[in-house]
Amino acid sequence: MSALCLAASLASPILATFADRVPGMFFGLPLLALASLIFAATHHEDPAAIGLATVHWTVWLGGILGVVLAVVLLLGTFS
């Protein structure tokens, strides 16, 4: 439990710094979830399949956008 608290206390300043650097990220996360859900639900009919496909789309979209974000941040840092 104490290890968890320690990890949280260490992670929170890093997260806060990250959120400060990328203020739009937290506004973008619900949109990522929404797009994944809609893409999944328009490709499937079964609720279980929609759930699986939502995770699948979230990983893909989040991964692609995350890589783009990382590249932009790196370019911004080193330029």
Partner: protein, 224 residues
């Protein structure tokens, strides 16, 4: 003389990519229209309760969240010189927002010179735009940055540079942009929902679908 039997009405069906069962699309045109009007309403009309509810809750929640983030100012129709609202093309993917916006835009630009109700979905005032006396009072009462001195008679002549949308953007900052993004994306994603109501689930031609190893049935997805 024998009477000719009425030909059976054509049924519009789609095939589920998950288990191959048929999906009754009822009247696809009506379903697509209903889904444009309110996301998911077409699917509910077709008896596809789960998907209809998912679409309605998720898209309407995102759209309303965008409206809230943007202080209720981000959804409006305007094609006037100096204020072309291109984002409205995306926002118009949701009919319950598009119809009031178009009505308000027509009323403000028309002879009435004022929108209906509290001015929701009404376009911002442009510099030099003429308004009715009641709308002038309403704007002064509702917008904290606009006072009686911002009008010359019935014409909007703000002291600060720009027009009413400039005031909104200054006051809301990036929230104006995020609100616009939320409402626009909700409208654009609803186009997929409209297609789903019209023709059933989208399919991958490769026969393999996302997150599901079950094969997609071959043949047409829609029998008419």
């Amino acid at each position: 003389m024998a009477q000719r039997a009425n030909p059976p009405k054509p049924r519009f069906v789609a095939v589920s990519p998950d288990d191959g069962t048929t999906i009754d699309l009822a009247n696809p045109a009506l379903a697509a229209f209903l889904s444009w009007l309110v996301p998911g309403l077409g699917q509910l009309y077709q008896g596809r309760w789960f998907k209809g509810t998912v679409f309605m809750v998720s898209l309407m929640a995102t759209f309303l969240a965008g409206l809230w983030i943007g202080g209720g100012t981000v959804v409006y129709a305007s094609w006037r010189p100096g204020d072309r609202r291109l984002e409205f093309i995306g926002q118009a993917g949701i009919g319950v927002a598009a119809i009031p916006s178009l009505v308000q835009a027509a009323l403000v630009s028309g002879s009435a010179k004022q929108p209906l109700g509290y001015g929701w979905f009404a376009p911002p005032l442009l510099r030099g735009q003429e308004v009715s006396e009641s709308y002038r009072q309403q704007v002064i009462a509702s917008d904290p940055e606009i006072g009686p001195e911002d009008f010359a008679g019935m014409r909007f002549t703000p002291r600060q540079p720009g027009d009413q949308s400039s005031l909104w953007r200054r006051r809301l900052g990036r929230h104006f942009d995020f609100g616009t993004l939320y409402t626009t994306l909700a409208g654009l994603l609803n186009l997929l929902v409209i297609y789903d109501a019209w023709a059933g689930p989208l399919r991958h031609e490769s026969g393999k679908d996302d997150g599901d190893a079950s094969p997609t049935p071959g043949g047409s997805s829609k029998g008419r």
